[in-house]
Amino acid sequence: MVMMTAMTADEKMEYFMERIESGDKIQADDWMPEEYRQTLIKLISMHGISEIMGALPEKEWVPKAPSLYRKLGIMAKVQDEMGHGQLLLRVAEDLMKPYGKTRGDIMQDLFNEDLKFHNVFHMETKTWADAGLIGWLVDGAAIITQTNMLDASYGPYAKALQRICAEEVFHAQHGESIIMALAEGTEEQKAMVQDALNRWWPALLMFFGPPSKATTGASKQEATIKYRIRKNTNEELRQSFLDKYIPRILSLSLTIPDDTLHFDQEKNHWVYQQPDWSEFKKIIKNNGPKSQARLNLRRSSYENNAWVREALSAIVE
């Protein structure tokens, strides 16, 4: 056992970096550099709150799901997302303990718009096909970014991700099943999927974030890679997504809304039309199509239920 108290700051840092570089896992009570803690809090609270905000677009389709079977499936799926949110917020809460902050503070940060939620959940849903597409491709994209962090140097996050990724695989299958039924269905159903794909495609490309800081002026990818929280860059992850899903999308006779899309054999990567990154900048500042409506729903339901939380704390006291 290494006596951290006897070490200088530099020695602590050196020891910490040795640990994570050798694949050791950092636990909640271990010493960690401030930048690491801050990076994790930002990443994990954003991830957790995105799961909870991410429940909202799909939830719009829960009561409308078009069969008993689909009603059961989508309810379970949205419930899982809330469960992931809970799991992640617990991890974030442990990290925030030294600052005396709790889940209530995370919610307030969301409401004050200091804490942002993932850009993909600011988009509008218009038809049942959107519910399928979110499960299939948004969760499919999430599997790619999250499996990239399964070996994260922070143990509690890696552990939560193990469970989350296992469930996300079910979600992608649930989404794929909805999409396949539509893609093999009537002309109207096929048109519904194509329309959903057309509308969601730019958001799916944006899902992985800008290729570099130069695109939007900010990117957290450097710090997360340095601290062995994730392995690959945004662009590498986007390329994995395109590798995996372009053949699947085409196999359903769907058209990807990008005439320039092709695989460059020489460079061994996909060439695609860049999404409008100025739109991305707007979205991450909570000025996307549904940003404010979803925040308001979360704010109003939190306020509306304040008396319940007060009643429960009165019992505990």
Binding site: E60, P63, M75, I178, L297, A311, I315
Partner: protein, 269 residues
């Protein structure tokens, strides 16, 4: 035609169908109301927990609709989504909205109402399920056994909420007391078998209305005594959902829950 169906007289079949529609429609609407809360419950842990109850209830509804499908009444999904309000046999309590506002906007749902409705409803459902375990109709006995284990947890969950909110702040207590009044006013037809009462009871499909209602009251008694509350007096129903009498709230629910299904009822979704 199934073996079960072959052995039944026309009257018995009518009784079985009617009871199945009541059970199916009750759970279907109860689950629908629960599903509107998804993502909006008072805290995240509750969101996850109550969603399980909502899913179980939808699962029970699906089993009853499937039995009706097996009896030749049509596709389970058609029965759940397409029947007009006046053909629905759910109790009025299960069709009531969760509170003001549409779920797609910023609804102001009432958690106290949801707790009271859910506690009273699941406790009544338990009295019925216990009785259905002895039903003369075998498929109902099988469903009752499956639902029974889940229902144990549903009742425990809502009873805990009921007791806690009535033992806490003055505000919570006041909200719960008004919710009890609202729920009790609608509870009359929850124990009714409607126009087919005589047949349903005669064929021994389930215990009599009176027996179920008494079992319900006895199950509530210890909780009410502990909280120093008077046991509810079950009123005569103003509207009897079992006879197709409903509020406009049911029509609004049907419009929403069947919106996508109605786009094309012949296709696979």
């Amino acid at each position: 035609m199934s073996n079960v169906e072959k052995m039944m007289s026309t009257e018995e079949k009518k009784a079985v169908e009617t009871l199945l529609f009541q059970l199916a429609d009750d759970d279907f609407l109860f689950s629908y109301c629960g599903s509107e809360w998804l993502g909006l419950a008072p805290h995240i842990e509750e969101d996850v927990a109550s969603s399980s109850i909502t899913q179980d209830s939808m699962g029970h509804a699906a089993m009853y609709y499937k039995l009706l499908e097996d009896l030749g009444l049509g596709k389970a999904d058609d029965l759940a989504h397409l029947r007009p309000a006046e053909e629905r046999k759910n109790s009025v309590l299960t069709e009531r909205i969760n509170g003001d506002g549409y779920y797609m906007d910023t609804p102001q749902y009432d958690w106290a109402y949801t707790v009271v409705r859910s506690y009273f409803y699941t406790q009544a459902k338990r009295a019925k399920i216990n009785s259905l375990k002895e039903s003369t109709f075998e498929p109902l006995r099988e469903v009752a056994v499956k639902a029974s284990m889940e229902l144990y947890y549903h009742v425990m969950h809502w009873k805990l909420w009921f007791e806690q909110l009535l033992s806490s702040t003055e505000e919570a207590k006041a909200k719960m007391i008004s919710a009890i009044e609202l729920v009790v006013a609608d509870i009359g037809d929850l124990f009714s078998y409607g126009e087919q009462k005589e047949l349903i009871e005669r064929f021994g499909l389930i215990d009599s209305e009176e027996k179920i209602q008494n079992a319900w009251l006895e199950a509530l008694r210890p909780t009410f005594e502990k909280l120093k509350l008077d046991l509810p007096i079950v009123p005569e129903p103003k509207l009897n959902g079992r006879n197709g009498q409903h509020t406009d709230e049911l029509q609004a629910a049907i419009d929403t829950l069947s919106e996508v299904y109605r786009l094309d009822t012949a296709t696979n979704w």
